[in-house]
């Protein structure tokens, strides 16, 4: 909403404040000023000049030399002159001797060039100088040079200088910017959606009057009607009253189309509305002044002297007054005459009833249409107009009558025509006057203030909120649709008392201990390890392209393809809610790789969205997933070292939460997908055990936790790690080996613990033994370790693999493995016999796995 200071002053004449004072005070009282622009920005030394003489330039065919009388201005600004006459050389052609023109004197400034192109921020300085050898001490201006356009100053000729009309009353030396109404400021207001009344000059003026404590003068609405009855000219019928609560019509006769007066043109121009003619300007003027859109029909085009307001038919076509054909549907409200549609209600009139210069009798319409309906219709038709944007907000029906009367008043004032007697209207019962019990104590209690009852009433007065003393009730004016309860009244009080003046206190509330949820702490714990391990945190979108599933090589029937779809996405690339967390990290790694960033490590902690059924019948499962990803140099990647590095990070993370490979409560394990076929693990969830198609088939593992400590049916899948499948890397344009790990946080929550219990440090020495053996390649480390532990019994304190070797010297199909074992008893020093017995059992067990001991 824009409003110029000069127009506001028409209603608040005593408003004499600077632009910044106005901005600050209005913003603090609730009518936020977004910004303002002075219309005379960069205009300096702009005076009225009278062209006394025009002579040919001695050396330039296209230039002329003018003697311009600038009254006392030239002397005031110390510009070279002779009795106020200044010599100016110009290339303009449209002037004649005796014309009055806006003139910038040397040393002054104009806003821009005469071509109306973009205006330089600092304006353009005009200096004294010689043009082709002839002295020139200023410049005569077009309206473009003064920072405006012909749109708003229709009297400006197509090319050339602006020439003041002979009856404009200006004389040489006058301030030309003043004469053109340019000493004005246009304020841009951010009006909140609840303050429909402030989408009008009068509404802003009321707020300004209340803010600055000045008197408000509302516009004249009185009409001197003719003897003819309006109702003899027109009948109105509203068939769809749900979409039109009020329809007012008035008829004016003897219309003479002419330009509207300068004051009206200037005001419209200040709000960015182009003056057209008196009739159109009146409807636009009243729309801005009252916030009530109006329409004018040429009554001679209205068949049967009848207006019918009804819904359109589905698929019906209609040509609006901009000449476009529009397709309608049964939810679009139409204004019709006895035979045809003549306008789309609240949006745009029809070409078939538009006002032409030959109009004699006019029907004004001011109606109250259903806001949401207009909003939706305007969206469906694809036509949003000034008018529809007003109606969308939901207008006050009382305003329609006031506005139509104001328009008729202006018809008379402008001598544009005669107004017939009365209004033709169809109106649903107007909403009852709202009353709110006045309770100053409660208002103060809500605000934490001690504002007196009288003071509160004083704030209400300029807002036209009346007080019924007998009932102790506040009577709310109809235009304040936002005031419905005492809390709304409290806001009226506090915004005029001053938000800044209310006390600043802390709640005298019950003392409480602030905290975060356990899951948040768990997430932070995991993130901390990731950070220490060199992973930086990334954030990515929750929605992505369905193509992600193909990039990740998911089979067509993969359950991850069952994703929640966005009905109105920003595009296909953002159309489904992610079911896998990988794309965010892989996409970011790709960006980094292609920007030549080396060895990038990223993690993200974010939700995936797993629907129980599609379409949704209940909220999907939002699971927080921690995803780690990095790409690495080929050495580390090819050898598989990177895999074990990542495995180490995951082990460290889970260890922080009390989940260890050989933990006191449960066992953590990393299982290759093949092992899944042995069945039964992960709660029988086969899909979880299957190889993940986006990972290297031989370099991936499920992260499993078995609360019982045994590889058993209560195994829970906490996530997975692996090398990204080379085809997937190619799809993401990552030219390096890439590794990822995903931790399903809700899955580990039941087992995550921050509890710690101290174990006494060993007092007796440990006995160590090494075992070196060859075993078939198919035997895993896990199987060997499991066997050693099982056979080693209580005395075995630790097992660690210290060498693994395949190749020459080892027979085909075998590998060499070497373990360091440590035995210890907490209560005594172990004897050689104790250890020998344990070792024997262990070696027997290993042999049963096909191991051959190496000496």
């Amino acid at each position: 909403m824009n409003a110029s200071m000069s127009w506001l002053k028409a209603y608040v004449p005593d408003l004499n404040v600077s632009d910044t004072e106005f901005t600050d005070a209005m913003t603090l009282s609730g009518t936020k000023v977004e910004g303002y622009e002075r219309r005379d920005k960069n205009l300096e030394r702009i005076v009225v000049g009278k062209i006394l003489k025009i002579e040919a330039h001695p050396d330039a065919e296209k230039l002329v030399v003018c003697q311009v009388d600038t009254g006392d201005a030239a002397a005031r600004f110390d510009v070279k002159n002779e009795n106020g006459v200044v010599q100016i050389v110009t290339g303009a052609k449209n002037m004649k001797e005796g014309d009055l023109v806006p003139t910038v004197l040397a040393g002054g400034k104009v806003a821009g060039g005469h071509d109306g192109g973009p205006m330089p921020e600092e304006g353009m300085a005009i200096k004294a100088g010689k043009l082709r050898g002839v002295e020139s001490n200023g410049m005569m201006c077009s309206i473009e040079e003064l920072g405006s356009t012909k749109d708003f100053y229709p009297e400006q000729p197509e090319n050339g200088l602006y020439i003041f009309a002979p009856d404009s009353g200006v004389k040489p030396g006058d301030d030309a910017a003043e004469a053109l109404g340019l000493h004005d400021t246009v304020f841009e207001f951010e009006v909140t959606s609840n303050r429909v009344d402030c989408y009008a000059m009068t509404g802003i003026a009321r707020e300004a009057a209340a803010t600055f404590g000045k008197a408000l003068t509302l516009p004249e609405e009185t009409v001197h009607e003719t003897e003819e009855n309006c109702s003899d000219y027109i009948k109105v019928e509203v068939r769809d009253a749900d979409l039109c609560t009020r329809y007012c019509g008035r008829v004016c006769t003897d219309i003479t189309i002419a330009p509207s007066p300068v004051w009206m043109q200037r005001r419209l121009a200040s709000c960015g509305i182009r003056p057209i003619n008196n009739l159109v300007d009146i409807t636009n003027y009243v729309m801005l002044e009252y916030g009530q859109p109006m329409h004018a029909f040429d009554l001679s085009t209205v068949a049967g002297n009848q207006i019918i307001v009804r819904r359109a038919a589905d698929g019906e076509k209609f040509i609006t007054l901009d000449g476009q054909e529009r397709t309608l549907d049964k939810d679009v409200l139409m204004i019709c005459d006895a035979e045809k549609e003549i306008g789309i209600a609240g949006i745009m009139g029809g070409e078939n009833s538009m006002i032409t210069d030959s109009v004699k009798t006019v029907l004004f319409e001011a109606a109250t249409f259903n806001g949401p309906n207009i909003r939706k219709s305007s969206k469906r038709i694809g036509l949003r107009t000034d008018s529809s944007s007003f109606f969308e907000k939901g207008l006050d029906p009382a305003n329609a009558e006031a506005a139509i009367n104001r328009a008729c008043h202006l018809v008379e004032e402008l001598g544009c025509g005669k107004v017939t007697k009365g209004i033709v209207e169809v109106c649903a019962p107007l909403p009852a006057q709202k009353r709110i019990a006045f309770d100053p104590e409660r208002i103060n209690a809500l605000l934490g203030t001690e504002i007196s009852r009288e003071q509160m009433l004083a704030y209400f007065k300029p807002l036209e909120i009346a007080y019924d003393e007998a009932k102790n009730e506040l009577v709310i004016p109809s235009f304040r649709q936002d005031l419905n309860a005492l809390c709304d009244i409290a806001e009226e009080v506090v915004r005029f008392y001053g938000y800044d003046k209310t006390p600043t206190t802390l709640p005298a509330s019950t003392v409480s201990s602030g905290k975060r949820t356990k899951q948040m702490e768990v997430e932070d714990c995991l993130k901390e390890v990731a950070l220490y391990a060199g992973f930086s945190e990334g954030y990515s979108y929750s929605f992505e392209s369905p193509k992600v599933f193909d990039k990740l090589q998911l089979p067509t029937d993969a359950r991850e393809r069952q994703a929640v779809k966005i009905v109105n996405p920003l595009g296909e690339d953002f159309s489904i809610m992610r079911t896998l967390p990988l794309n965010g990290v892989l996409g970011s790694l790709s960006i980094n790789y292609n920007r030549r960033n080396k060895n990038v490590r990223l993690f993200e902690c974010g939700n995936v969205y797993l629907p129980a059924a599609l379409p949704l019948t209940e909220l999907p499962d939002e699971r927080m997933m921690l995803t780690l990803g990095f790409y690495t140099d080929e050495n580390k990647g090819k050898s598989g070292e990177a895999f074990f590095e990542l495995k180490g990070v995951v082990e460290e993370m889970l260890a922080r939460l009390g989940m260890r490979v050989q933990g006191a409560s449960g066992a953590l394990s990393f299982c290759a997908p093949a092992a899944a076929q042995d069945g039964g693990c992960c709660g029988g969830d086969a899909a979880c055990c299957e190889a993940r198609p986006y990972l290297h088939p031989g370099r991936q593992a499920r992260v499993c936790f078995t609360p019982s400590g045994k590889q058993d049916k209560d195994c829970v899948c906490l996530g997975y790690i692996g090398e990204v499948h080379p085809d997937v890397c190619e799809a993401y344009e990552i030219g390096a080996r890439t590794y990822v790990a995903v931790i399903d946080i809700p899955a580990l929550m039941p087992f995550a613990s921050f509890d710690r219990i101290y174990h006494p440090l060993a007092k007796f020495p440990a006995v160590t033994r090494d075992i070196s053996m060859t075993v078939p390649k198919t035997v895993t480390h896990a199987a060997l370790e499991e066997m050693i532990r099982q056979r080693g019994g209580k005395l075995l304190e630790s097992v660690s693999l210290f060498d693994i070797y395949e190749g020459a010297q080892i027979k085909e199909g075998f590998k060499s493995m070497a373990y360091a074992l440590s035995f210890r008893d907490a209560a005594r020093t172990l004897s050689d016999e104790d250890v020998a017995a344990a070792m024997k059992k262990i070696l027997n067990g290993l042999e049963s796995l096909g191991a051959e001991l190496r000496s």
Binding site: Y499, D500, P507, L531, Y539, K565, L619
Partner: protein
């Protein structure tokens, strides 16, 4: 002392002194003090002495032995210390050579800002809770006084998921969920991801984060809201920070306000950063609308409360002077490692 002993002493000490290499020193030790050394030979020759001369001579030989032993030890020490200092000298490094850094990861600016916000409110006794990102229409709109045809529904361009489901456009629904739990007082903040169908540009992202705050109890006032948020602003932006509350409109609070903080860059005098105004808009807030309380089962006759919502990205962009929001979702390492 006999002349022979004296002569031996002088010779030995001279040799030890000049014995700069460990090998020479060892040679000297063997030559004089060894089993077949001169001093031992000397001792053996004692048998040729008279009984009264023997103890005297023996004493003299033993004294000389200790003297020589001490001299050798000292020579050894000197030698070791000379070698150590030579070693240390040789091992000197150019300390200005580049560091070998332990690569530690960096937190995202969003998370840094959130951690700070959480710290401040936890300090004031607030609980941190979460609520779902996919939400039912009721919790995102209706329960917040935004009925079906409310224009605010259009202002916040919503992503719909079919049926009653949508991607929440604000964290304010968390207020409703918290109130529905039926426990009062409520003192919570709820950070989370929100979605609006804005095209991506330097200041808009279809995915961003908000932090909602809610306090419900008896006798909570608008002044308490101001005080609480002023504490937050000072903690977050610095002790010198001033706050300004401006009237605003949110359907679910009344009275409503927007809070500005004095520009922490220029201190409020006006600069490029605050577009010359001296103030920066930070958050929206207000007293919870009694109708919202009522819909969520809180008795508005007994309880009042305040709520606020702030944009995490906005705070992060301001605090770290990041000029383009898109950087937050690209995860370029060169960006992330700056935090």
């Amino acid at each position: 002392m006999s002349d022979t002993l004296q002569e031996l002493r002088d010779r030995a000490l001279a040799q030890i002194k000049e014995g700069i290499t460990p090998e020479k020193l060892e040679e000297a030790r063997v030559a004089f003090l060894g089993k077949k050394g001169e001093l031992t030979a000397m001792l053996k020759s004692m048998k040729d002495l008279s009984a009264e001369e023997r103890p005297k001579f023996g004493q003299a030989v033993n004294d000389l032995r200790s003297e020589l032993e001490t001299a050798i030890d000292e020579a050894k020490k000197r030698m070791k210390s000379a070698m150590r200092s030579e070693q240390l000298k040789a091992e000197a490094v150019d300390v200005t050579l580049p560091a070998k850094r332990q690569a530690v990861g960096h937190r995202h600016p969003n998370s840094l800002a959130l951690t700070e916000i959480e710290r401040i409110f936890i300090g004031m006794g607030y609980e941190v809770v979460r609520s779902t990102e996919i939400e039912k229409d009721y919790y995102n709109f209706e329960a917040l006084n935004i009925p079906a045809d409310h224009p605010a529904k259009d202002e916040q361009d919503t992503f719909y998921l079919g049926g009653d489901f949508l991607l929440r456009t604000q964290t304010s629904g968390a207020q409703v969920h918290e109130m529905e739990k039926g426990r009062i007082p409520i003192k919570m903040i709820s950070p989370g991801r929100v979605f609006r169908s804005d095209e991506v540009d330097a200041t808009h992202s279809p995915v961003f984060h908000q932090v909602e705050g809610l306090l419900i109890d008896k006798n909570i006032t608008f002044s308490d809201l101001k005080g609480t948020l002023a504490v937050f602003a000072k903690e977050f932006f610095g002790e010198e920070t001033r706050v300004k509350f401006r009237p605003h409109h949110f359907p679910f609070t009344e009275p409503s306000a927007e809070m500005d903080v004095s520009c922490y860059k220029c201190g409020g005098t006006g600069c490029r950063f605050c577009k010359g105004s001296g103030w920066i808009e930070i958050l929206g807030c207000g007293m919870v609308h009694p109708h919202v309380l009522e819909m969520s089962g809180v008795d508005p006759e007994t309880y009042t409360g305040f709520a606020f919502g702030l944009g995490l990205e906005r705070l992060a962009l301001l605090k770290y002077e990041i000029e383009d929001m898109r950087l937050l979702y690209e995860n370029d390492e060169r960006f992330l490692t700056q935090f």
